[in-house]
């Protein structure tokens, strides 16, 4: 029989970035998601593609249903956050790239296909904030519950929003 605590610990935080194609902030959101899931917290996080949620893909829906999600939106339409919610998932915290940029105005992002240095630095800064939230969530047996709220609250002070 699987211990509930172990089960909680085996969860991975789902990272869902905006799939924006025509805006710089969309590219920043995607790059930040890659930094988190490949470089900073590869063992605690998994990337879920927004297009699969749009299609209603079973594996993508199962991933967001079983794990807390952190969404990264590139514009005010907040597609990533809305799609996770509509797919039956729970957004532990959502980040809006524009709000993050307001805190790191020294990193001015430009480019879409290829981000400039400022865009890459902004993505790194955003990824570090996300990693901080993941750290709090992962270190608690009650991952996805109260610990998320506490972590998210701190994240919110950095510009993220509680889901």
């Amino acid at each position: 029989m699987t211990d509930v605590k172990d089960s909680k610990r085996s969860q991975k935080v789902v990272i869902v970035p905006c799939s924006g194609i025509g805006k710089t902030y969309g590219s920043v959101s995607r790059e930040a998601a890659y930094v988190v899931t490949e470089d900073v917290r590869p063992d605690d996080t998994q990337l879920v593609a927004l297009s699969m949620l749009v299609l209603g893909d079973e594996s993508a829906r199962a991933a967001v249903a079983a794990n807390p999600a952190i969404t990264i939106d590139g514009c005010k339409l907040a597609c990533a956050t809305k799609m996770v919610q509509e797919s039956g998932g729970r957004v532990a915290q959502d980040f809006a790239v524009l709000e993050v940029y307001r805190r790191y105005k020294q990193f001015k992002p430009q480019g879409i296909a290829e981000l400039n240095e400022g865009g890459m630095q902004l993505a790194e800064a955003l990824a570090n904030e996300i990693a901080g939230v993941v750290e709090k969530m992962s270190s608690s047996p009650a991952m996805g519950d109260e610990a998320i709220k506490n972590g998210a609250a701190q994240g919110s002070s950095n510009g993220g929003h509680n889901g």
Partner: protein, 255 residues
Amino acid sequence: MVDLPKKKVGIVACSGEELAEGTVTRLAALKVLEQLRPQETVTICLPLFLAGGEGDRAFARFYPTIAVDGCELRCAARATEMYSGKPAASIVVTELTAGAGLPRPQGLRRLDQVGEKAVALTAARIAESVDELLEQRWNRSVGQAISLSIDSGQVENQLVVPVVSEEPIQATCSCGSGIPVRTLVIEDQPVTLIALPVIFEDFRQQGKLPGEGTIRELLDTVKIYNPIPAGAEAAYAESLLREYAIFCADTQAVK
């Protein structure tokens, strides 16, 4: 004179972040939008079919659309058909690269050389499709290519699509502002009509006042972009006339 939307081709890339082929779709779409066919193409983010408004969901009906997918799941093609309209063309990167004898590309964030070749190959295929679709006649009211079997009068009616001015060469998505829409109440039901705000503005600028003399032309123009059920023309005409009068009054009041 107000410019009504020009005929362009829509591109919807799956942009799948989990696969290198998803990155290929995004970069290939951008190459077409910015370099190969900048004046003839527009794009929209796939999630907006659900997260956006009526104008976003009208995208694939309004523009003949090419779905560009990274893998056989075909998220872009299937979701576009489910929520917007049947894509006019569908391209799958894995099929394209296999056909060209290329191995699978690597690198989600930074594509390898194979990935770069795949981008070039996919972009070229998209551009070919754009050219093919631009040669076809497109019925915006039903979102299909016009068959030559339709009588010529009907075809002419569907083709009155004025040209817009040149636009800057930078890929921009159509999120939230792609296609102007306005919702009317027709026979006690809300009906969202594509392009109605620009049609109204066009008529107003031409000095066509709300009245019986205008309504037939207004109805015909609206029919270019919207299906009107058989037998409902009178109700549409009445509602359009009422709404156009409100539009003109509001515009006058703002001035």
